[in-house]
Subunit: 437 residues, 2 copies
Amino acid sequence: MQKKITKPTILPGFMELLPKDQIVFNKILNRIKNVYESYGFLPIDTPVIEKSEVLLAKGGGDTEKQIYRFNKGDSDLSLRFDLTVPLARYVSQHMENLTFPFKRYQIGKVYRGERNQRGRFREFYQCDIDIIGNDKLNTINDAEITSIIYTIFNELNFGDFVIHINNRKILNGLFEYLNIEDKENALRIIDKLDKIGIDNVRLELNKCNIENESIDKLIEFINTTGSNEEILKSLKELNIQNSTYNLGINELETVTHYMNSFGVPEKNYAIDLKIARGLDYYTGTVFETFLSDYPQIGSVCSGGRYDNLAEYYTKQKLPGVGMSIGLTRLYYQLNEANLLKDYETSLTKVLIIPLDDSLDYSIKLANKLRNDNIYADVYLENKKISKKLDYANKLNIPYVILVGPDEIKTNILTLKDMKKGEQLSLTYEQIVSSYLK
Amino acid sequence: MQKKITKPTILPGFMELLPKDQIVFNKILNRIKNVYESYGFLPIDTPVIEKSEVLLAKGGGDTEKQIYRFNKGDSDLSLRFDLTVPLARYVSQHMENLTFPFKRYQIGKVYRGERNQRGRFREFYQCDIDIIGNDKLNTINDAEITSIIYTIFNELNFGDFVIHINNRKILNGLFEYLNIEDKENALRIIDKLDKIGIDNVRLELNKCNIENESIDKLIEFINTTGSNEEILKSLKELNIQNSTYNLGINELETVTHYMNSFGVPEKNYAIDLKIARGLDYYTGTVFETFLSDYPQIGSVCSGGRYDNLAEYYTKQKLPGVGMSIGLTRLYYQLNEANLLKDYETSLTKVLIIPLDDSLDYSIKLANKLRNDNIYADVYLENKKISKKLDYANKLNIPYVILVGPDEIKTNILTLKDMKKGEQLSLTYEQIVSSYLK
């Protein structure tokens, strides 16, 4: 019967990797996960499909247009577009069974039907951590979150990076003091400083009916520079009589003090008064992270403190602090910047190649290696030796053990180092202890 | 502003776990993954959303009604309902960049809008491995797949289990020999033997216009019992002159021989001539796995050999062998059977509790522990000591280190074993080497 052939393709905007790239992607994901777990974060896994009425309880916003929303039977369903809304729903729903502060991590795919363009994905991994307090949450948690960013990017080793940190209360207090009413808008304009330059920021602020004197003060404030300590000192010396402003400085001081205790070197973080984060729910600490050699990638990890995680699902006040790594986009950018070339692309440590009737022995040898915690594959097909070695080469498997009648008789195995091309005659124990461990 | 409160709930048929259960779920998933990787399987990760025309290229079947299918813009989209169709599409699409035999594993969620009932899920994890040959694939691979099932369920330690194994060619050959024309239907009836009993099987076979003599022979065949060796002997002695039948016996002999080499004990597999698998694409080895003490769970891991993975996407012949673990359902069943109670439900090994002004020291202590690869959490809130200990208790964290001014002065720490309730004064090194490693 002649079958109709359908062209095998995937949708645009979806990332799909070849195995060797997937191995690298998974290694990065696992390192992030391990760091999250090492700090006491608990895993959760929420459904990809939720009720639209729940996921969209907050409503409005640009996101709504991008959502994958559809009906099945009588149900109005949506695919999750982030991991924060599901977290809010999860905490509200399971509150009685959770222990606070609730430290959770979630790594999973989220969906946004964005305009199709290079480096933008419609299905992408987010790797999120949040610490949620029941009514209250100590500011020190903000320092823990930022120090986890440090630990992750230090381990991942993509070169120098700086965590830019600020506190929304400082900005809010300053706006109050300067009688700037449309804070949200002013914040949004300041957030664009790096993109549009100081003159355009001034221009846009002018359009918002902000007095020139206030604009001057605002720009003077944003341009405060120096070491972290110097900036904090300058901010205090501005002598602004506003309680929100001063609370913000206190919080920022606390966070930077404890980042120090958590072991974040001074060179890896910088108070940056321009960081505002264009979202309306951050209320305290905010941060973004930049790779020093690759500023064009933009922030690789952002987040902050919010007063109320789940106001659409519960009356209980749930303050929190969290951050997110958009792994799919990060992987894409790092790969484009050629920063992933040093990763090993094989999980298999050794391929066993049976020659002339040595399959049983080869299979048993592989069992033994796996029992010794060494990932081992056996080539099972009837092919020429060159084809068998090809398999190891193409998959970047670093070692091959050749097993033939001589090897079986003497128990001396032939190890081939695939990178060096060397071939050695060794006992099992020598191979394991000197090469495969 | 008074916000409207939306009741936080998820859809029926979706599994969502509390963190302590999620930890257990993830441990099972990780063990499965590690075994897959230890045998040389490569990870792939395909999109959850694909083009309907691609996912449904095969068309028809019961599955189609269950599919989550919808439009976004001009695109007709579907959520994947298994990992086999995406594999077929993946191999056809990326053929030029893959190395054969292509050993891949994929662990991910799939979607089926099934009727809502206890223990059935609309979103569930599948953990699949397949070995795909380009044109040919040695039968020994079938033995590798079944031996991986052994390794996994042996490690997971849910009690005794037996892999029931058969070969579709034996049944097909027998049907040919007995002039049974509607093989598919006869297979389906035989597959129900355990559920409906031998009399009903006879009755149903009768309805298919099968001669009484053939039915007698068929039932005699299915009732062949004994050790694996004895069954193979009996099958040969039936002296059926049919090449498909004899090829099937040869393959079954090969598979059981190499299962032995792969280290599967005789007690953990059984030739079971009733195993047919009601799917139309298996062509050789087929198997199902049962937990001896929990037969009601049904098969926990099934699979088999097929001649042609991707006939809807390519003219290239791609024979393969694979198996799947439906993890969400398995987890649910194991949990119901109370088989998961021995799993540790904390990833965190130790909680550090700071007393009176010892936060900095506590945080640095946690850093040190993490550098020594010990997962450590610090309690950062201002609460009474009893509340702090509560946190460790509720999260089943096995150890607590109490840090106060005395501990800081003397560098002798107080370790509390939360299970025994014991409290000990020890150095950091003693704690790490004797309790936390």
